[in-house]
């Protein structure tokens, strides 16, 4: 074994990856920051810039001499051992935290690797549900199911691999876990599998279309507009996702709502 130690890293030179990163969060004192917090900051790419020549390395923005890696040897060893022990679902459930599921090995997430094994997929999704019920999930943990839509090095999503490996249960579980991401347009990333979602017999899969809406923070801001008493919702086509008050009033006028007074002074009433 050949190691390199500096003030920030203990690096395994055989594989050129850090065994433990000492200084990840550039704002905080590493002596006071827990390892979990460091991992979290890695996953959230805090103050980091991807080095495009090698997608496994990230350059710190504030301290450019520090290189960060998304994986540590501890992570790799954990999954290597689990694979050596025949990928026992019970063992996976007991051994891994949510952050340890949120990893990518050679461009493939664990969703990709276990696409054919619905038991492991079920464990991951159950773990997310369980953790979210007892604590506020971090941004990276919340985004964990989106790994399903991340194409691997061959350009295939985990959904595609689940279909390819004839695992409808995995497919159903993955689709179920992809609901509720209103900040992101998810369907664009699953166009190759969308036909199977539409024609699927499982109600849970079909329910995906009940929540496939995009609502970025700008849309979440409530607006006060003239309205018809009997109108439940107004549906209109728009060339942009930035719905300004003027655009909204213009579209409502197309629905026969009198918006003249509101258009004259948007947001102001006498």
């Amino acid at each position: 074994m050949n190691f390199y130690i500096d003030q920030n890293f203990l690096t395994d030179l055989e594989y050129n990856i850090p065994i433990r990163q000492k200084n990840v969060n550039q704002h905080l004192d590493p002596r006071e920051v827990s390892y979990t917090k460091q991992i979290q900051n890695i996953n959230e790419l805090y103050n980091q810039q991807k080095v495009f020549e090698d997608h496994k390395k990230f350059l710190g923005i504030e301290k450019a001499h520090i290189m960060f890696y998304d994986l540590s040897k501890i992570d790799i060893l954990l999954w290597k051992n689990l694979c050596d022990l025949n990928e026992n679902p019970h063992l996976v459930e007991k051994s891994c935290t949510l952050a340890q599921f949120n990893l990518c090995f050679n461009g493939a997430s664990l969703f990709h690797y276990f696409a054919a094994s619905s038991e492991i997929i079920e464990i991951i999704i159950r773990k997310i549900a369980m953790e979210s019920s007892i604590r506020e999930l971090s941004a990276s943990d919340k985004m964990l199911p989106l790994q399903i839509l991340n194409p691997n090095n061959e350009g295939r999503t985990a959904l595609y691999l689940a279909i390819q490996s004839q695992s409808p249960k995995s497919f159903e579980l993955m689709i179920e876990s992809l609901t509720g991401f209103k900040d992101i347009c998810t369907t664009k990333m699953m166009l190759k599998s969308l036909a199977l979602v539409v024609s699927n017999e499982c109600e849970k899969v079909i329910n995906f279309f009940d929540e496939s809406f995009f609502q970025p923070p700008q849309m979440r801001i409530e607006q006060f507009v003239p309205w018809k008493e009997d109108l439940e919702q107004a549906v209109f086509a728009s060339h942009t996702a930035v719905i300004s008050p003027e655009l909204l009033l213009e579209k409502l006028a197309e629905h026969g709502i009198d918006t003249q007074s509101a258009l004259a002074s948007p947001g102001k009433r006498k």
């Binding site: 209103k182 347009c185 998810t186 369907t187 664009k188 166009l191 969308l194 036909a195 539409v198 024609s199 699927n200 017999e201 109600e203 079909i206 329910n207 279309f209 009940d210 929540e211 496939s212 809406f213 995009f214 609502q215 849309m219 979440r220 801001i221 409530e222 607006q223 006060f224 507009v225 003239p226 309205w227 549906v235 086509a237 728009s238 996702a241 719905i243 909204l248 007074s261 509101a262 009433r269 006498k270």
Partner: protein, 244 residues
């Protein structure tokens, strides 16, 4: 008297009158504003290439019927329907109505009158200048209307041929409505051809009984198709689907 009625009576006896009302900040006749939020359909890829068309085809053919009841899919269909309905009405339904009227008038009135006039003109005891004038007028009208019907027939038949080519024979005839359509095209063509032959030769080229029977079936098929067209209107679509 129920309790609620007693309360209402008491309220009527004691109308609530405020000495002064709060100012709602609204001008006379002005309605209060409503608080709304906006959300977008997560289908921005629809605007790329033929994606919208592909999704519509998918929903029309392979989709689980339960998917059609889901919120986002319903919104997508309603939004597309706002544009499709006027276009279908304008370019398909109204021409079909004109076509139906022509074929019905031809089969129900003109054909009978013409054949009656032809029979009367043949007999020396009934032939007269008035009968000849009627025959001539009916013949001219028949030729014009038959030509118009033929133009419409070619247009609608071309749509069926295109659909047959796109779907394949098995899939095309797997749909009952396509069978009715093709039968209608065949019967209309036969009617127009037979009547046109009579008009051109000004003679009973085909047996009148056969001509009437074919025309009757042609009209029946066309009225059946009207039932199919009822799906164009949301108030009737549900019943058509129910009967189907």
């Amino acid at each position: 008297m129920s309790r609620s009625e007693i309360i209402e009576q008491k309220k009527a006896l004691r109308p609530l009158k405020l000495a002064k009302e709060f100012d709602a900040g609204l001008a006379e006749g002005e309605e209060p504003l409503k608080r709304v939020t906006v959300e977008a359909l997560d289908f921005d890829w629809l605007f790329e290439n033929d994606n919208a068309k592909t999704l519509l085809q998918l929903l029309a053919s392979d989709a689980n019927s339960s998917a059609l009841t889901r919120k986002s899919i319903k919104i997508f269909i309603e939004l597309m329907w706002e544009h499709y309905q006027p276009a279908i009405s304008k370019y398909m339904f109204f021409p079909y109505c004109i076509y139906l009227c022509i074929v019905n008038y031809n089969s129900g009135a003109l054909m009978g009158d013409y054949l009656d006039s032809l029979t009367l003109a043949r007999l020396p005891e009934t032939d007269s200048p008035a009968i000849q004038a009627d025959l001539s007028r009916q013949r001219t009208m028949g030729l014009i209307l038959n030509s118009l019907a033929l133009i419409f027939l070619v247009c609608f038949a071309s749509l069926e041929v295109r659909q047959l080519r796109d779907d394949g024979v098995m899939a095309y005839f797997g749909d009952v409505w396509n069978v009715i359509d093709s039968a209608s095209v065949g019967l209309n063509f036969t009617t127009i051809f037979m009547f046109m032959a009579c008009l051109i030769y000004n003679d009973e080229v085909f047996d009148f009984t056969v001509l009437h029977a074919v025309a009757a079936f042609a009209c029946f098929c066309m009225w059946l198709k009207i039932f199919y067209w009822c799906r164009l209107f949301s108030s009737l679509a549900y019943y058509v689907k129910l009967i189907q």
